[in-house]
Structures are given as C-alpha cells and as structure tokens.
Symmetry: C2
Subunit: 674 residues, 2 copies
C-alpha cells in the first residue's frame, strides 16, 4: 500500500473503532466521528508534537476538541497513539470507564479539556493560545513554540460564543491557533442548511483569520492546509474541511448510509453496523483491533517523535542552562502550586467598597505574580480590575508582554478563554464583570467546576445597591445561584466552586488570599459597588478562613445571632447598636463562604451558630440565600429581597427596601417577641 492508502486505512481503523464503541455501548455518536477520522488521523500521525514518555510536557502541542459528542473519534485516535487500550474503549459510556460519553479532562491520556456543551472547547483553545504567547513573551521561544489545535463542528460554529472567539482570536492575531472546522452539513436534528446559509469563510476572514477550504476527507489537502498553517500566517487559521457524515457507512440493505442525520446520535444498528465494518475493511466479529500497517504508522510516528522531542528538549535544556532564573520561574508557574505573595503590601482604605479593596489586592498581584493574567469584559474601570491594569498593559497582537486581557463585551468567551489559559498551564487567570452578568458565564463556571480549573471570578456590583442602573443590573438571585456550585461537589469530593462575599475591605484581602491559595477549584469573589463601613476595630479577619465567624465585639450568651455576608454585615452592626440599647445581647456572624464553613469541625459550626439560639439573617439576595446557615424553621428568620430591584440611588433603596440598622432593629425585636 502506498502512503495515502495507509493513511486512509488508518482513518478507516478510527471509523471502525468509533462505530464499534458506540454499537457496543448502545449509545453515542458515530456519524461525526466517521467524518472527522481523516483529519484526526493526519494530525495525530504526522503533525501533533507530544512526548509519549512525558505526556504532560509543557512544550507539547495541545489538541482541544469542541464537539465532545465526537469522543469516539478522539478515543479511537488516542488508542492508535497508545493512550487508551482496546479494552478501555470497549467500556465507552459505562460506569467507572475512562471513556465517558463526553471526554473529561485527562491530560496524561491526551484529553486537554472536558467538552460537550458546544462552542466552549474552541474558546478554551483560544485561551490556551493566549497563554502560549504570554509565556513565550516571558520565557522565550525555545520553550514556548508549540501549537494549539482546535476541532470544531457545525454546532460549535453556530453557537453564540464563536462570535467572541472569532473576534478576539482575530484581534489578537493568534497565529498559534489552528482550528479545523469539520463541516459535514449535518447536525443533530436537521441538515445544516436548515439553519445556516452563511459564508463561514468570509465571516472568519472578516474577523482577521486565515481561512482555507478543503476536502476534509482528503489526506493531501489536509496535509497542505496544516503545512501552511504551521508555517504561520500571522493570523489564527481556520481550515474548513468539507467532510462526509458517517463516511463509509452502509445501511442494512447495503446502500449508502452516508450523509444521514440518523448516524449523528445513535448506533448504526445491527445490519448497518455489520455492513459498515465490512465496508471499512474490518471484522464485525472482532472489530476492536488495530490493523498492522496502522500500528506501524503510529509506531513509526512515536519513533519520529522521539527525535523531534529530543531535539526540542535539548534546546530547552540549553535555554535552561543559559536562563536559570527563567527556568526557575517556569517550573514554579507550571507546578500548579499557589504563588508566594507578600500580602502585607496590600494597602486597604478603611470603609472602601469591596470592589476597591479587590483593586488594591489586584495591584499587588500584578506586581508580585508575573504569570497572572487579569481580564475584564469591558468593565475594567468599573469592576476595578484596573487595579491590575494600571501596573501593566493589555495583550496586543504581536505584543504579549502585557498581562491584561481586554475581552470586550463577551462574558462567556472571556470565561472560557481564561479557563483555557489555565488548562494550558503556566498561567493564573482572573476575570471581572458585574455580578448580574455571571448569568452569562454560568456554562463556563460549570465546566471549570467540573474540571477543577482554579480561575478567579471577580464579580462586582453585588446587590440592588447598584442603584440607578436598575433591575436589569441588580443581582438578587445570583448569590444563591452561584452558591449552588459551592454546594455541588466535584468528583474529588471538593466543593466545586469556592464562593466568597467579603464583609469589608480587610475581609476582602483575606478572601483574595484564599482565592490565590486555591489551586484546585474555581473561586468566586462577590464584591460591592458601594463603600462599606469596616467591621469593629480589632476584628480578627483571619477567621474568615473558616467561612463564617463571630465578629469582634459580639456579646457572650447572645439572645440573638445575626448572620450575613457582604455589606449586610455592616448593616447588622448598625442594628446591633440599637438592639443593645434595649439590653439585647447580640452576636454578629460574618459568613463570606457557607461552603467553607460547612467544611469546619461540627463543634466549631455549632459554636458559631448554636442550635438553641434564635438566628436572624439579612441578605440582599433572596431569603433562601442564607437559609442554609440560618435555617428555615421557627427559630430562624431571614430578611431578604422578594423581588427584582429598582432604579434609584442606593441609599434610597436601602431605606425603601429596609436594609438599614433601624429595620434590623425592628425586624429582630418582632422576631424575638414571637
């Protein structure tokens, strides 16, 4: 067989494995996997640079899959690479299998991102491309010269987020990003032309991408396109490959089963399956096999990689010797360990807004954490990420010496790109926007939580005290919403997102410390627009590390425990003053993180929130925001928001909505008399 025949044989091998996995699982997506087999085979057998003996090598090319339902294609190709066994892929979609229905992050096996929700994978790839350029600017081309490959399908191109990725990757001229668009004209429920009549090539060109259009099932054309892309075009590259859905598939009656919607999301079915496997040169009785020539193809590639990698690693070693300081930094950055930070440098201004307090922390982070990137979705001067920006400048095409990522108005894209930066490794990413717009980011928050990617979310303007901007900009349900992620555990048993809503500027510093120390899960900081009076002098802010704690000045043997997070704590303090005049003994509890509190010993929890003492909570969110701490029984009462907010100056809203010390007094007195 000649070279092309072997390549086609290998692609057919991928098709056979993919279709067989799905058939055995009685569930999954064979058609797309069969269409994309040629591209993934060319990429994996001839282009992708990685080290089989060191799969987490920092200099490896990264491959990000966007359409996670094409996992059978990926698992099959990774099996040819020797990263899954034939036994393992037969457990597709079964309990405990390393081959779940949609790929889950597993770098050692070659899975650089969890995928499934369309569009997010290619945004992560774009983020990884930013990280590569950012690190190259700091460390040098010798150690940062790899490529980021992304694989996208019709659905991903349709998803809204492709606008964000298209714009930003083009704007930043990410020429290390090479994306293959598997255009097979079929999507889950219809043919693509039912929902799209766009000129996709022209669209990406308008975004400043280099676009090539090829037959995505043709080895030669794929090679030519990849050669051009890797040679560099000064822009991100989109290779639009026209492919055939279910390529090589036959129906039970022996006629073609190509280009059929039915092969998208279901097994081929008995007769069709057998005919298809035969047609592809496989044995329906023993479909889980690797052809000898295909085995040789990938073995040869592994040998070739040894040389390629040895050369690259020799250059890296030379660089390391010549740049010991940089090498040390690089090792630190890729260690996954939290950076060392001298927090004493943070200067807080008493009674400031917690967004301003966050800004003070970000200033110090910009100064002390050289591998940190901070982003904002066009709100830097408002979400106060400009504390970071003022110490650096923005990422620019051809100049990644800055560390601020101006994402423009595209919250979801920003989030997924920041996640992608951290998936790449070597970078710590934080991002800001208004808290109400965390709604746009939820899909990204969720996948970061699932993967355990420790990005930092900076969400400011945290309550109706946004004021004049009115209800569209005033979060009410968002705190309870995001705290659901704190209640939801990841597969390691950790709270999948750590959420902090600090009570004043000093508590903000401690929460930012915990955010930077947390390298296992995403952290969210929920911050105020308005200034907040500081907690009583002498308050031990380190206690915030327990999630909830008794604020300085609280009375022993309290008649009532008052509980809040964020700026409502200071409102409780105002109320406390009035209550004490009536001889009522009051404890105030600040609870920046319910999740962290629930991780404390039961004795501590019971001590802070004693079972037999009445508890009163105040929240600018829905009452249920605090019911996990305060309870919802007869010994408990939470005063919170019932409705959307309103447009008015926030001090007017405080009065109108009852968020004043006076009302705390009234409410608590009434509650105590019940």
């Amino acid at each position: 067989m000649n070279d092309i025949q072997i390549m086609n044989h290998a692609a057919n091998n991928i098709r056979i494995l993919a279709a067989s996995m799905v058939e055995k699982a009685k569930s999954g997506h064979p058609g797309g996997a069969m269409g994309g087999a040629d591209f993934i085979n060319v990429l994996f057998s001839e282009y992708l640079v990685w080290d089989p003996s060191d799969p987490t090598w920092t200099g490896r090319d990264r491959f990000f899959l966007d359409p996670g339902h094409m996992s059978p294609m990926l698992y099959a190709a990774l099996t040819l690479q020797g990263r899954f066994t034939l036994d393992e892929i037969q457990q597709l979609r079964q309990w405990g299998s390393p081959c779940p229905g949609h790929p889950e992050l597993d770098v050692v096996r070659g899975i650089e991102n969890s995928s499934g929700p369309l569009g997010q994978g290619h945004a992560m790839a774009a983020g990884a491309a930013v990280a590569e350029k950012f690190l190259e600017a700091r460390l040098g081309h010798e150690v940062m010269q790899h490529h980021i490959f992304a694989y996208i399908s019709d659905g991903g191109v349709e998803e809204e987020i492709s606008q964000g990725v298209g714009r930003i990757a083009g704007k930043l001229a990410l020429d290390n990003l090479i994306m293959f668009y598997d255009a097979n004209d079929i999507q889950l429920s219809t043919e693509v032309n039912k929902v799209m009549r766009e000129d996709t090539a022209a669209k990406y060109r308008a975004w400043n991408w280099t676009v090539m259009e090829i037959d995505g099932n043709d080895v030669k054309q794929i090679r030519e396109a990849l050669d051009k892309a890797i040679a560099g075009t000064g822009k991100p590259v989109l290779i639009i490959g026209k492919t055939v859905m279910g390529k090589g598939a036959l129906k039970a009656d022996g006629t073609s089963y190509e280009h059929s919607i039915k092969t998208h999301g279901a097994p081929l079915g008995d007769g069709a399956y057998v005919n298809t496997i035969k047609n592809l040169g496989g044995d329906p009785e023993k479909p889980f096999a690797i052809f000898d020539d295909v085995n040789k193809l990938y073995t040869d590639r592994a040998e070739a990689l040894k040389k390629i990698v040895a050369k690259r690693k020799a250059a890296e070693a030379k660089w390391a010797k010549e740049n010991p300081e940089k090498k040390k930094l690089m090792d630190e950055w890729f260690s996954g360990k939290a950076p060392k930070i001298d927090w004493s440098k943070v200067k807080q201004k008493p009674d400031s807004a917690t967004r301003a307090a966050s800004s003070a922390c970000l200033k110090v982070l910009a100064q002390q954490v050289p591998n940190m990137i901070c982003a904002s979705a066009d709100l830097s001067n408002s979400d106060k990420t400009d504390g970071f920006l003022k110490e650096t400048h923005d990422l620019r095409p051809g100049d990644f010496s800055g560390a601020f990522f101006q994402a423009g108005v595209a919250e979801l894209t920003m989030a997924d790109m920041c996640i992608g930066m951290m998936l790449h490794g070597g970078v710590i990413a934080a991002m800001g926007t208004f808290f109400v717009f965390s709604d746009y980011m939820k899909p990204a928050v969720r996948i970061a939580a699932l993967m355990g990617v420790p990005v930092k979310f900076i969400w400011t303007h945290d309550a109706f005290r946004v004021g004049e901007d009115g209800p569209t900009h005033e979060p009410v349900e968002q705190e309870a919403q995001i705290r659901l992620m704190e209640k939801l555990q990841n597969h390691k048993g950790q709270d999948s997102v750590r959420v902090f809503r600090p009570a004043d500027c000093y508590e903000t510093t401690v929460c930012w410390q915990m955010a930077m120390e947390n390298m296992e899960t995403p952290t969210a900081l929920i911050l105020s627009r308005q200034g907040i009076k500081c907690l009583p002098e002498g308050n031990d802010y380190e206690q915030a590390r327990k999630g909830a704690y008794i604020v300085k000045g609280s009375d022993d043997n309290p008649d009532i425990v008052l509980v809040a997070s964020g700026s409502e704590v200071s409102t409780l303090e105002d109320g406390t003053e009035l209550l004490r005049k009536d001889g009522i003994r009051v404890r105030v509890v600040s609870a920046p993180s319910e999740g962290l509190f629930r991780r404390q010993p039961v004795g501590y929890q019971d001590n802070v929130l004693p079972y037999n003492v009445k508890k009163f909570g105040m929240t600018a969110g829905l009452p249920c925001t605090l019911e996990g701490l305060v309870g919802n029984g007869h010994n408990s009462h939470v005063f919170g928001m019932k409705s959307f907010g309103f447009s008015a100056p926030y001090k007017v809203l405080d009065e109108k909505l009852g968020f004043t010390g006076e009302n705390v007094y009234t409410q608590v007195k009434e509650f105590l008399s019940e």
Copy 2:
C-alpha cells in the same frame, strides 16, 4: 432654518435633554446618547409609523433598543413625540420614576423591550420580525406590513448573541428587520479598536444581510439608508452609522469633549455640562425645554401620522370586513388572553417519559393553537418538540406558513427571539432544549421574568438519568437554580417564573395546561428523558394545580411524608410499597411547583405538609432543591445529589446513586429511627 438645520436642531435638542437628565440624576450615560441623537431623530420624526392616539396599535412599527444604557436618548426622543413629559424625564433614575436607568417595557410610552444586558435587545427585535412575518402569512399584508427597527451599539455587536441573530435573521431573510449600528468607536472601558478589528460589514454580509455604511450623524445619509431599507432588499438590513461619541460636548475649558470614554458612563460634570449645553444652543439654566421649531417638527409629524395611520386603518377595516374570520382570529391572538384548547384530545401513553408526554401535548397545541410557534435549538427529535414539528413545518425564508422555528445551536438567541415574538404580540412562543443548557438561557429567562413575557421553556433530560452523556449533560443544580426565579417576584408581585416538574405523563398534561393558561409570566417545564411509571390509578391530577398535593393511595395519619417532584415521585412510590410491608404509614406528595404551592391557603399547605410529621424528600438535584418544602431542621431529611453526575446507563446510575425504592426504604427507616 432649512430642513437639515431643523433636523440638526432637533438632534441637538435630544442631546441637551439627554445630557441634562444624566447631569440632574448625577448618574447615567450621556456620550452614546449624544452620538445617536441624529439617527433616532430622523427615525422618530420621519419614518417610524405609529398612532399617537392608539399607541398599542398592532400595525405600528416597533423600535427595539439594544444598549439600554442609552435610555436618555430614547426618553428624550419619546419626549419630543409627547410620550414623556419634561417633568418626568427630570426624574431619570429616581425611585418611582417612569424613567429608570435602563428602559423597562412600557409599550404605551413607546418602550417595546426592557434592555440593559447588551445583545438581547436586538435578538428580541429579530424575534419580533419573525412574528410579523408569521402573522402576515396567516392574516395578510394589509394588517402586517410594519417594520422592526433595532438599534445596536459596539457592545451589542461584540456580544456572543450577535452570532445567533446574525445567522438566523440572515438565514430567514428577515427583510422587515432594519438595524442601526451606532458605531462610535468608544465603549465603556476602552476605545473599540482595543478589542475589535473586524470588518463588521463583511461579517454581516457573510450572514446574508444587506449592509450600508454611512455617517451616522448625517441626516441625508440616514434618510437615504432608511429609504433603501424600507423599500426592501430581500434581506435584513444593517445600517452601520459611524457616529461621534458625545457629539457637541465641550470640556470645562471649552475644548472638545467628543470621542472620549469619559462621557460613556458618567455625567459631563459642571463646567463641561454648561459649555456643552450652550454649544448645543440650549440654556444651561433651563435645559429641559423643547425648541419651538423642534416642537413643530414633531407636531407636524404627528399630523402626518394621522393621515398615514388613517389610510392604513382604513385598509385594515376593509380587510376586516372582507375577512371576518381572520379578523376574529387576529383579535383573539392580540388579546393577550390564553387560547381555548380542548385538552381531551391529548392522548398520553402510560409510563412514558414526560418529554414524550410533552410531545403529545405539543401535537395538540400545533393542531389547535394556530398562532403558536415552537422552537428548538437543534434538538427537536430529542427534546420532543417534534411532536409540534410533525404537525407543521419549519419557518423558511420567504415562507412563514410553518410554525416551527429551527434555531440551530444557539440557546440564548432562541430564547431572546422567542421573547421578542411575544413582545411583538399576536404569537405564543415555546422553545425546547436540554435542561442543562438552561444555563445558557438564564440571561433571557431573567429578562423575560422581569418583563412578564409568558414564553414557555421546555427543558428535557432533567437529571442524571440523561445517563451515558455524562456530567456535562446532566443537570444537578439547575432545578434549584431555576426555582430561584419562582421565588423571585416580578414588580407585580407574581412569582416571576412558574416552574413545573411533573411526576408522570398525565401530570405533564395538567402542567402544560397551566403553562398555556399562564399569560402573565414565563413558564418552565422540566421533563424527563426516561420513561416514568405512572402515579397510582385514580390519582387526581387536577390537584397539580395547587403546586403540591397528596398522591392517591396515601395513608391517613402518616408516620412519614415523602416529597418529590418529577420522576423521583415514582421512586418514592416504589419505596412506599416496601415501607408499608413494615407497617409504616406513608404519604406521598408530588410537588411540581413549590411556588404555586406557596400561593395556596396556609391551611392547605399545612394539611399537605403537616408541621409535626417527619418529612423525607428525594431529589435528583441538590438537597436544597426540596428544602423549601421539606425544611432543613431535625424533622426533615432530603436525599439528593451531592456531586456532578456520571456517564453510565441511567439504571446503573439509579443503583449507584441510590435512586431506588430500596434506598428510599433504607433511608426512611434510618430517618424514622433517629
């Protein structure tokens, strides 16, 4: 003054009013409003067709603002139209004012949509354009010949959703949609070129739009563009108007304050304000005034409109006479009243999945509700909206006789477009996707909830029982998340979203009935992928109208009350059988809607969930999903999910995760023995 001079004078009048509103409020966005004044003035004084004496006239042109922060421009222009008073606009951003910081739906005053979160407004406009064409196809051009105008800014063009709107409006060739893009090169935190270097015109052309590029501050060019657009191009129209941010603004020192980021989101400031008002021909002492010639311009327009509208209404009257049946339908459809439906036609198949049960309802709705549009984000054969689709066909360019909206993979766009359809009036819109993807739709759910737009969300694949697709596709926190909107009230004091998770196929019918009867708020239906054993024979499903009720066959004087929604109710029934063998008296409560239950008389609530009886909840969501009903004290226990789901067949997951009758038995026994 000549014609152009008067027009410029009017635009300056808008600028003066806008800047003055913001100055007086000490908060707001003057710069953009000043840049866009020329376009809005030309549109409102010469093109927009509406009836001052009948502002909700069905045949009116609609104007959808996307950048809600440009409210001062809109309020100013509406003041010239006589829809706000000079006194009212002086109350911008104040408590109780009709001029909140971001416009809130108020059709009588000319505000067709609430706006603020960028991008959503123009998606609503695209939806309204679909509705217009849909209704034209059913009623006739005589009554449906108006245009949908949208106004978008740089931020909106950047937002991800513009990809969905660009694609769909282009695909459907919505030539009744005319969008002005106010391209002023400035956004909140930077100049636009910091984040965008795209060729926006080429991008929209790639989406099949007609694009015109003009000086957006030039009256003649605006007129020419609008003339061409209104003449019809067979495609949606994008008019890219280059405008000058803060046009006419001067600084305190008298130099130009144009093209400055500082004018985006803050008052001009004392000296600058005075200089600016003078420069625009206003009186800084009495800025809230309408110039005489401008007053005449708008008075003349009102006179002209009388004739235009009279002619149109005469044609409508003629049409009504000739088409009495259609007229009757039209009146019904625009009445805002729920359609009459013969639900007896719904044929349910016992033990079916509730998504299939929903399909059976949708079939009948497609047959009986001729003004209903059902959508799916490329999942119609999976979310079972194909029950509707099979009775009709999809909306197509040039053919809106079908009633199914194939949105492609773009959940947020679909949601906002469906909202826009209902804002237009005359149409009822429903839309389907997987429940886990409700995450993408949250921003739209929120704004629909705020406006009280009664769209129907159909969310299927409601729990880990999605099975093989794994954690990215398995909702866990989503039920608790969306029920936050049921807890959050709109400004009328209603639960802002009604949420149903029915327990079996028959309960699904009742929930769909309530969804269709609900014409005041959005309704969400949360439906299962897998088949569910029906509740005991003789169950009175009408009781679902109370939100939660005692299932048939429950014991009197129970030892334990079991509570669930969705398919967990049938799991509780399985457990009940086992518990009864031990002589335990069991009540099972099905709770499709906690919110609706909380609207029942306290006596009913106490009767269903007695305070002094132990309550056990089971949920495939987080335990807190049910804690509002079951409580979280010592008399309460909820068995729920703690973590993300897993990839495996759902029956395996049921066993592994404990969602079986056996485990209900074990859990309840243990709980009772505590």
